[in-house]
Symmetry: C2
Subunit: 165 residues, 2 copies
DNA sequence: CATTCTAACTTGACGCTTCAACCCACACTC
DNA sequence: GAGTGTGGGTTGAAGCGTCAAGTTAGAATG
């Protein structure tokens, strides 16, 4: 038999409602800005940006999917579109034919460069500017904790891997 | 001519990456739990829960859409499905025929009651348990600030409306 | 009381994401 | 080196959300 559930109290309830709203609305705001200004989705931007930050503008598909927080299947469909648009090329990894490498083209890089300034500006406006420095710091810690609860196998970037026992 | 964009520094970048990941992964975790245990989406649950919390298990469609953070169009499609499943009924508001009232049925209420315990448990596990009390408090404040930045016309619940000048 | 306006809601089509099935390259085993 | 396993990637179909267009009820205007 199950225990009586630990219902949320009034405080927690408000916090949860507010977080739930943010989950939806922040996403759609970022998507709307990117769609309006650049005609691409926020996810497509993340893919292009992920490539532009790689040393040779090249990444494995699986690596890219992780960066953009999407499934491999979703990425595959999206990269097919981006390839049709001439912003990305795909080729099998010469070192290991199981991997596929996605490479940013010149035109693709130009697109990211064009989109980036308005995007950071929007992130600043919606996320950082409304918060105090202390809140920004706490936000990082909060999101890292929640991310670990959601996916314990996840390794936060820039955090040294815990040494094996 | 545009100013040089205020790029994110290393700190901010990590915070933003972590928040972006949470935006996606928390949502999909909640969705996955609800789909697995109850065969419905998290959004559908929110709709049913929104009705179950109303005095007479009845709400206007537009009110419901706001509660569940979805468009009216999306809600209309979803309620059609919930109606087919026998969990919700729709009728025009007798007081004002422009509104549509959605009413939770007995079966619909039973469904929410069945789904609710595991849902709160999941919310606790993923959101509240990993955080300190102080972080929980700060989280509310952070999400409210971001929500206001995203949509300035939004009125946070349980916050007295600012008196007109 | 006719006209116009506004806002709530619905609908269908289109586009995107998911899901399951599949293919393929390499590793591992015997 | 044949057989099996594993994991990366792709594909097509099915389902869901969005968008634009349409419908309707009531308010506002004359």
């Amino acid at each position: 038999m199950a225990h009586e559930p630990r219902w949320l109290d009034a405080q927690e309830r408000q916090t949860w409602l507010s977080l739930g709203a943010m989950l939806i609305n922040l996403q759609s705001a970022l998507d709307a800005q990117m769609q309006r200004d650049q005609g691409i989705s926020h996810f497509e931007y993340q893919v292009l940006a992920g490539l532009s930050e790689a040393a040779d503008h090249t990444r494995r598909m699986s690596e890219l999917a992780g960066l953009a927080n999407g499934s491999l299947s979703r990425l595959s469909h999206v990269v097919k579109r981006l390839e049709r648009l001439g912003w990305v090329r795909r080729l099998p990894d010469p070192d290991d034919g199981r991997y596929t490498l996605a490479v940013l083209t010149e035109e693709g890089f130009a697109k990211v460069a064009e989109a980036a300034p308005a995007h950071v500006e929007e992130v600043r406006r919606l996320v950082f500017d409304p918060l105090t420095r202390a809140q920004q710091t706490t936000l990082r810690s909060i999101t890292e904790r929640i991310n670990r609860a959601v996916d314990p196998d996840r390794d936060e970037p820039d955090r040294p891997p815990r040494p094996p026992q």
